[in-house]
Structure formats: C-alpha cells, structure tokens
C-alpha cells in the first residue's frame, strides 16, 4: 500500500503545481452556479432543495471529468516518465490506484467547494439535509465512475486530446443509456430485458436513485463495480501496451 499512497501524494501535489487545478475548480464552480441558477431555476422553483444543482451533474461531468483524467497516463506516455514510473518498485495496480484516487480526491475537493450552495439553501429554507448528503455522495461516486473510464481512455493513448474525447464519448454512452428518449427508442428495437439491462448500466439511473435520498446497495455496488472494472481495464491496457 506504500506505493499507492506515495503515487497518490505525488499526483495530488502535481495537480496544484500547475494552473490546471485552479482553472478546473474555477470553471466547475462557475458552471455549477450557472446551471443551478439559470438553467435550473433555483429561485423560481421556490423549493428548498438542491435538485437543480445535482440534476446537471452528469452533464457537467461529461466535459469536466475528462479534463482531469486525460492527463493521468497520456502525459506519462508523452513525456516518457511512464518508463521511470514502471521501473520503480511499484506494481502496476498500485500505480493505477494511486493515480485514480488522486484524481478522485481532487474531484471530491472541487465538489466540496460548492458548499456555499448548501449554506444558501439552508439559509433560505428548511431542506432535507439527508437527501443533500446522499446527493453529494452520489455525485462523488459518479465522478469516480467517470474518472475510472477516463483513466482507461488515458492509458490507451499518448495524446491527451484523444484521451479527452474518448472519455467524453464513453461517459456519454453510459449516461445516455438511461436517458428516457434513448430507452424509449431502444424499446422499439430490443426485447424489454435487454433495454432494462442497458438502462441499469446507466449513470443517470443510479445517480437519480441516490439523489432522491436512498442509497441502495444496488447503486453502491454499481458505482464501485464500474470503478473496479474500468481500473482493471486500465491495468490490462498498460500491461499490453506499456511501451507504445
């Protein structure tokens, strides 16, 4: 476990060594504010909850998470430091985990910085803070899923642009799989059980379940296994094409 924590620490520090971290946090906070107040009609709804804030998270993450994950492995490939990292006495699994956890913690930190919204809604009314808490948890877990996909996409290429687009597209598929318009369309073509299976793989379904305030075991298992599967895929990708 020493390997994981050392890699994690280095990665996390390197986020803050470049403007990337600050730019990301700034854009994340501005956009989540814009979405909540303008698109989500936070005030007009006159309800003391954060639904308008959280409901845009899947879409917000679609282009913000790839921005964090794209550099995870692509940059190492591009600069050649992957050769340094992989010849240090650190196992591939530890390296993948350490990097992923650093990115996840960073995303979690950005999410925490949205706390003024929570204060606002508590100041304006009397929201169900339990629901808000599980929504935060759901959003964090979803960010983890997105990041795990991004980690795998980043391991595939030395180009950060390709890693960004790849992550965006795969995440979009996993979001859309549960989108009503898409499931409606699929229903005409596929048997119901397949449509349900596809929909159950969607981030959207599990995230909306959690953000209603119920953290079901199925949702937890879903998010954690998404993360596990995609990180395992990252390890395999690195094993197959480490030197490319």
């Amino acid at each position: 476990m020493n390997g994981v924590s050392v890699i994690l620490k280095r990665e996390l520090l390197s986020y803050f060594a470049t403007p990337l971290a600050y730019v990301f946090i700034f854009i994340f906070l501005v956009l989540s504010g814009v979405f909540t107040f303008y698109l989500g009609n936070f005030f007009e709804r006159e309800q003391a909850d954060l639904t308008p804030f959280f409901s845009f998270h899947p879409w917000l993450y679609l282009f913000l998470v790839p921005a964090i994950s794209m550099r995870l492995w692509s940059e190492e490939r591009k600069t050649g430091t992957i050769e340094l990292l992989m010849t240090l006495p650190v196992s591939r699994i530890d390296a993948v985990l350490g990097k992923f956890l650093a990115a996840w913690l960073f995303a979690g930190f950005a999410l925490l910085l949205t706390f003024p919204l929570w204060i606002t809604v508590n100041y304006l009314g009397d929201p169900d803070n339990g629901v808000i808490f599980t929504s935060y948890l759901g959003s964090f877990l979803m960010a983890g899923g997105f990041l795990a996909i991004g980690s795998c996409m980043s391991a595939l290429t030395r180009s950060q642009v390709i890693a960004f687009i790849g992550c965006g597209i795969v995440c979009l598929l996993f979001v859309l799989a549960g989108f009503q318009m898409v499931t409606g369309l699929l229903r005409d073509w596929l048997p119901l059980f397949l449509v349900d299976t596809i929909a159950s793989l969607s981030f959207l379904m599990h995230f909306s379940a959690v953000s209603r305030g119920v953290v079901g075991l199925a949702d937890l298992v879903y998010f954690l296994s998404m993360i596990g599967v995609w990180l395992a895929a990252t390890v395999v990708v690195l094993e197959i094409k480490q030197a490319d």
Binding site: E83, L84, T87, V90, A243
Partner: protein, 316 residues
C-alpha cells in the same frame, strides 16, 4: 549478479533483440555500444522490466525480472533514454518522491538526498522547477534519481548525452567512483567513453551481439593497434621521407592521414615487429635530420573497429 540469457524481442516483423546473452559480476562496468537502432535501449528496457521479452530471461541479483519484477527493480537504478522527469516538480520534491517510493524514509532519506545532490552538484537548482532547468541539469537530476538508493545494478541509457565536456567528465568520475561491488551498464555511442570508464564492451547491431570483450581487446582489433605514427612539420617533409620509411624492415604498410602531415607505419604480423618499427623509424628520422613534430605509437582506433564490426563502412 546480472544474467541475461537468450533474450529475444520482436515488435511485429521487426526483431529488436536477437538472442542476446551475457553475465555480469559485481565490479564490472559494461559499455553497450551500437549504432542507432541497434537494440541497446530495447535491451535495457527489457533488463529493467519495462518491456517484457518475447523469450529469454533476465535475472537480477537472483530475481527473475519476468516473475518478480518488483524484487529485481529494488536492486536496479535506471536512467531511461532522454532522462524523462516529472517536469512540474522541483529536484527536491522529485528526489523525495523517489526516496519514498523506494521505501527510504526519515533521516536516511535526507542523508541519501543530500549525498546525491552533492555528487551531482544540484545544490543551486534544488527548488527550481525541473522544466526550467537546462538539459545538463535535467540529465543530472535523472542520474541522481538512479543512484539515490545506492543500487546494486545501475543501468544508464546514454548518461552523458547532452552534457558539456566538464559534466561528462563528472559523470564518468561518478561511475568509476561507485564502489567495486556494483554492476554498471551504460549505453553510449561515444567510443572514448568506453575506454574511459568501462571494463567490458559489448557491441550490438541489428539486435545481435557482435563483439564482447574488454576495451583493450577492442582496440587491439584495430589496424592501427601499435602502429607508429609520425607527424611531420609539413607535407613536403612527409613526401621526402615516405618511401624510405615504408621500406623499413617489418613495415607492412603505410597510411597518410587526412591532414597530410601524419604518416602511419603499420607493423607486420611477427612478434615484436611493432617495437622494431618504432625503433627503426626513430633511428631513421634522427639519421636523416627529418623535421618531425611528434612520433607516437597508436593504441588502436575504436571508431574504425566499431565501423568494421558493425559493418558500417566509411564513405568518402
């Protein structure tokens, strides 16, 4: 102990390494020579466990790199080609990171870092971001990283590439100064480096070992080995004496250097002929009052041997 046995590496249709085997014992400094694309870097990547071989095994201090890469990597210090570094870090944080990964902590870590920083003269740039450093400093940070844990086996891929002559000298001194129970492999295409630091030289080309011997033996393969070279004051002088010198006993041939003032006399095959050629040449030059600025016996020209062995002929 480091043992490489019957190593093969195939990239699609390209054979990068074709049956390379060698064994190194502590104290040996191996120079890995070869033209660009010969398979030097690939071999090093396989030894360090970065690349898996297509077949064959590498054993480092008893650890098989394929089955126990972490065990082998603990014994290894490695400077990859081009000295890649985490550019957003400073040498201080970078070296601290390497120490931590290698499980060196606390006072020992501080000691080791201080020691490599002074060996590599990095004091002045310790808190400067690596991306702002000159090529020479970057290379030295890479070297510092490789020797931080005082490894048993040190593998350096073109360690002096991009360094100025003073820095090159420092690096060679550092390598020679390593204690005698270490194994060092350096790859280079600078031939003097091999005679300067290595106790053994392996020349590879096209993925195969073409020569495996000491630098001295390599030199003795040269046509110029123990040949007598006379430097005249001018072309005219050389032409006056050339015919007489080339008919001296035991001289098997002559050559005039590109600068047209140096005449090389090649000795014959018989025992002691190189010495006789030198003595006779000196006597002749004295006797004929030739205007000579220097006379010396050649050690052998490595570049010529290198070209001959690798089959890269000179094109004039």
């Amino acid at each position: 102990m480091l043992e490489v046995s019957h190593l093969h590496k195939q990239f699609g249709d390209l054979t990068a390494i074709n049956d390379i085997s060698f064994k190194l014992v502590p104290g040996e400094i191996l120079g890995f020579l070869g033209p660009n694309g010969a398979g030097k870097s690939t071999t090093m990547k396989v030894i360090t466990g970065f690349l898996a071989p297509s077949s064959g095994t590498v054993t480092v201090w008893g650890c098989d790199v394929a089955t126990d890469p972490l065990g082998a990597q603990k014994h290894l210090g490695y400077l990859p080609e081009g000295a890649p570094l985490y550019e957003e870090m400073t040498p201080r944080t970078f070296l601290a990171f390497i120490a931590e990964v290698r499980g060196i902590t606390g006072a020992e870590s501080a000691d080791r870092i201080r020691s490599v920083v002074s060996t590599m003269s990095l004091e002045a740039v310790l808190d400067q971001r690596i991306e702002t450093l000159s090529k020479g400093f970057k290379r030295r940070v890479g070297l510092a990283q490789a020797i931080l844990h005082d490894p048993d086996v040190l593998i350096l891929d073109e360690p002096t590439d991009g360094l100025d002559p003073v820095q090159k000298h420092h690096v060679r001194e550092m390598i020679q100064g390593l204690s005698k129970d270490k194994i060092v492999i350096i790859s280079t295409h600078i031939l003097e480096e091999v005679t300067a630091v290595c106790s053994r030289a392996i020349i590879i080309a096209g993925g195969s070992v073409l020569a495996d011997c000491t630098p001295d033996e390599l030199e003795s393969r040269s046509r110029y080995h123990l040949a007598t070279t006379i430097r005249f004051s001018g072309e005219e002088q050389l032409n006056t004496h050339r015919d007489a010198l080339s008919t001296l006993e035991d001289v098997s041939g002559t050559d005039v250097s590109a600068s047209s003032v140096e005449l090389t006399l090649f000795p014959g095959e018989t025992e002691g002929s190189s010495q006789r050629v030198a003595q006779q040449a000196v006597e002749y030059l004295r006797g004929h009052d030739a205007d000579v600025t220097g006379i010396f016996q050649e050690r052998g020209r490595l570049d010529e041997v290198f070209r001959e062995i690798t089959g890269l002929e000179v094109r004039h």
